[in-house]
Symmetry: C2
Subunit: 389 residues, 2 copies
């Protein structure tokens, strides 16, 4: 097990009963709130009206910035920073999924930074401080509600980049599984895929031994695999949403990272896909991950075989562990198909024309690599895109 | 899943590399430290000399209060409070296991309280604030290094009582698995038993469904069961100690409590045993828990059968789930015996003479109950003591 430091300060309010206290919760962080959200679904569902009412009753002032898009854009972040600076905002309250939350984190850090917030995303500067961020989560997926990460897309050059910093942990997150009832099936599938990939990126590691966190990751994956088909079949099943939503948070709150270095190449490889084609991150991951697994399988067959047996209940075969490992990947693909995902690029109309360019962008040139389990050069990534065709 | 609020603020420094930074870590919390510890083992191992050196080099003043005993005593807590008040202590730094840490928490809360600190332990007052507590853990067991709990024994009347409060979470804890190398086998076994009971107390719940946390608890129990025999066989196995130590913290850091109400009767029933006979808490739990399980089994045979199959790998038998359940309890007893525990009161020379008195103390009289899975009256507890003979 690698040495580590672990602390997750986010206060989680989970269940049906906390939305009615959002005003009082937010009031702990100041007087003036930026309410930040995406499209109309939170308006239609009554969530935004409820939050406005709660904030008002708690005596808070608030400004609003809607319009966050999937793969949240830098241009809106700039607008948010302007709003925060000119209105002395104390708290950025994100309502929605990972896009609204990641955008809120960028705004929160950018407001207290003298330079260009994009500096944080290209490694030119490290976020040291940020306005407090709170979240009201409406979809289990990105895990950003209790993570130190933020992913933003710069429109110019279609650059999708991530930053991690302790000051980006939300101070609090309100999770009510009932808010997931109205999610469309494709969004559910994308969220489920994203959660599974957060777990799998951490699972495939060279740190060893990591028995305990292996088992925790397997337990979380089994929960997601068990509950996802149930929420798709019965979108108003509170109990199943609750399991899935809490699993989605734990999948990405850094606990399952402790003592191990995850891989994260699939995330980088996918980011190029969603940046260029503007597809959902989860949809891209369902295509990239199996190809990545096939490409890296022989680096550690035992690990893939353990994954196959423990997560997918593939029968043991110590005489041919690669067979066990490959069956695990096949079951992952079959599972993703069963929840409505495509698992090949050709199925979503993407061909090879941009592979070289995307691979070079993923690694920032031929000299660099992405991924820790198996460091991949641009040429490897291009091969993975081909395997995904 | 029940609604819940979850936040664990303790910063964990895990591994070999952090002890050298204890001075700098402690310096974040002030200038003046009370160093609080038990007997001579931390002195002999070189840990206390190292900490004194680190604190001094970081420019901190410190006072010392050693002599914490297992089942830590209220009288020493009073001494610590006096020391803190008269020396303007900023941080109480506990070095040792659960006893030193629980005692430090009591001192930290008592220092900022005008009344008698024992008020917190008998429910007469709620701790609202406490001095910051840091810990340097030397044994995986109590989980107090990242929990909001403290258990103290009042010598007069042999009262052993617990309190939980957010202000009692340590601010930081330093966990170096190497510090466990010199633990005697009996202490290892008691620590392992305590960890397993923290998990089992949470597992046996009436909250349902709680699939995700069930799986996380099972994963943690499997880790403890796998690694405990290895550290007993090879006390200097860093990797196995690391798994066990981290599992011991997660077992009790409130995560595995989320969305469910644990039982905790066995802990209460055991507390009377260790208060009266001054045996180790873990040793008492190894005797009380199987008896408690046999007594409550029929309340939810499915839960006991799931526990048996998933944790102990008992073969499924849907035609006779009680048989599966009973086999699980038998395997728990066999495992505890295998690590050197006694699992019957008669084996440690305790007979029935005080059963009635202990049962009445555990429940604070005939009218009250302990435990949530199955609320138990004094008469039930007496029956459990008898089952444990």
């Amino acid at each position: 097990m690698d040495d580590f430091i672990f602390q997750n300060p986010t206060r989680i309010y989970f269940g049906k009963s906390h939305e009615a206290n959002i005003g009082r919760i937010a009031a702990q962080y100041g007087k003036c709130v930026l309410l930040h959200y995406g499209g109309q679904s939170a308006e239609r569902s009554g969530l935004l009206p409820l939050i406005r009412k709660e904030l008002t009753e708690a005596g808070l002032h608030f400004f609003e910035l809607g319009g966050v898009q999937p793969n949240p854009r830098l241009s809106l972040v700039y607008k948010g920073i302007e709003l925060c600076k000119s209105n002395h905002i104390d708290l950025v309250l994100a309502v929605g999924g990972g896009s609204a939350i990641d955008s809120a984190k960028a705004i929160a850090a950018g407001t207290l930074y003298d330079g260009d917030v994009w500096d944080f995303y290209i490694g030119k500067a490290v976020p040291e401080k940020a306005l407090p961020v709170g979240t009201v989560l409406t979809i289990p997926a990105a895990g950003s509600e209790s993570s130190p990460g933020s992913v933003i897309t710069k429109e110019e050059g279609q650059l999708k980049r991530a930053v991690n910093a302790d000051c980006l942990f939300p101070r609090f997150s309100v999770l009510n599984p009932e808010r997931c009832y109205t999610l469309p099936p494709a969004q559910i599938a994308n969220g489920v895929t994203d959660i599974m990939c957060h777990l799998q990126e951490r699972y495939f590691t060279n740190s060893k031994p990591v028995e305990f966190t292996d088992r925790l990751i397997e337990a979380t994956l089994r929960t997601v695999i068990a509950t996802a088909p149930r929420v798709l079949a019965n979108p108003t099943s509170y109990d199943d949403w609750a399991e899935l939503m809490w699993a989605g948070t734990i999948a990405h709150n850094e606990l399952l990272n402790t003592g191990r270095v995850g891989d994260w190449a699939s995330h980088d490889i996918e980011h190029e896909l969603s940046a260029l084609y503007d597809i959902a991150h989860g949809a891209g991951l369902a295509i990239i991950t199996p190809a990545w697994m096939k490409y890296t399988l022989r680096h550690d067959i035992a690990r893939f075989a353990q994954y196959a047996e423990r997560v997918w209940r593939v029968e043991d075969n110590y005489f041919d562990p690669e067979r066990v490992a490959r069956e695990g990947i096949a079951r992952l693909e079959a599972f993703w198909r069963s929840i409505g995902q495509k698992v090949r690029l050709s199925e979503i109309g993407i061909d090879e024309r941009h592979f070289t360019q995307m691979a070079l962008k993923a690694t920032d040139g031929e000299a660099h690599t992405v991924g820790h389990f198996v460091p991949l050069r641009a040429v490897d990534i291009e091969a993975i895109y081909r395997l995904a065709l």
